[in-house]
Symmetry: C2
Subunit: 200 residues, 2 copies
Amino acid sequence: MATHARARLLDTAEALFYAEGIRAVGVERILAESGVGRASFYRHFTGKDALVVAVLTRRDRAWRDWLADRVTALGGRPLDVFDALAERFARADFRGCAFINTMVETADPDSPAHRVAAAHKQQVVDYVAALLADRGHPADRAAALAHRIVLLMDGAIVTALREGTPAPAAEARTIAAALLAAEPPGPGLEDPCAEPAARG
Amino acid sequence: MATHARARLLDTAEALFYAEGIRAVGVERILAESGVGRASFYRHFTGKDALVVAVLTRRDRAWRDWLADRVTALGGRPLDVFDALAERFARADFRGCAFINTMVETADPDSPAHRVAAAHKQQVVDYVAALLADRGHPADRAAALAHRIVLLMDGAIVTALREGTPAPAAEARTIAAALLAAEPPGPGLEDPCAEPAARG
DNA sequence: GGATTTCGGTACCGATCGGTACCGTCTTGT
DNA sequence: ACAAGACGGTACCGATCGGTACCGAAATCC
């Protein structure tokens, strides 16, 4: 028997929701393209809403894990997040940020899907703040800077979506670099092994 | 007779589409809330898609006219666009940028609605570039700077939407100010009546 | 004042929406 | 080997989707 109907539902739904929008994709489509029977779907999820939340929750974890892995591989500098973004923007199936899209599509801020999406963004802010703290920025300054860097990330994502090019990632990186250059890290807490000043 | 069914349809549809999303609002709702008869609707528009395009086209003009008016009233400086944005963010019915939302909801980039939304953003870039050129920036630099300023505007819009506060407008303004401070206008072309350096 | 146009209301269309119930089948754990 | 559970397929449900056809009333134009 084909294994794990639940996993196939999540995979198919994630791809379709991201590519065409949550509301634009009906349960019918997901069943047809995943090969899962109708009854099996409602055995695993109470309804479409629960599927949406499950997809977003899984993507939240996967996306942040991916970001952390890429940033680490690129050098662990805060500005490396923009180079990670550039990789995403260059993919043919890039369709913006699934969580921004969810908040746009799901207008009700009290909706479970909206909440998951909002929480995702907050966790990204916390991650960037941690990156900044690692480079010696005091906690309060790291939080404020992270806020602005995520604003730049979101701006780059939206711009990349509407222009269809990965260029906005580099633009946002340049702007963020100016931001960090104007605010040097605190007194001697930064990583002594940091590369000179070529990047980041 | 109640006047101008077409105008009422546009007003009602614009409000509902912006508040709840294009796909989330059916023709039925628009007819009920506008008080327009079903037949009258299809007399004025070939279908829902045409209504969407008409709404977006009208909003494009109205939004850019509003932006130009507010910026002029605030002083005509490029950075004034962020103060104009802040006013929008503070409104209770703020739900992000209708054109970003349209591009997110309408995945197909060849769709008429998507094209109108993309064209709107390009015209905003052109407008900001004109503001920069007025302050003495050479045309090519003005275009590049405008691109980045609109990236900041979009980032502020998305951030304001997900946080529900107008604060991101001021954040983006500060970042943009650093951007402009690092790149002084060209050789003596700026407006001699410009205010010192307090803002903009 | 009569004709034309625009209007609102309603009935109806096929298609699709999310969701439920029931069926026979196949895999797996013991 | 056998029972238990997960599976795919189908029929069906009421509601709503976008869209068409037709009607009588009301306002405008000549």
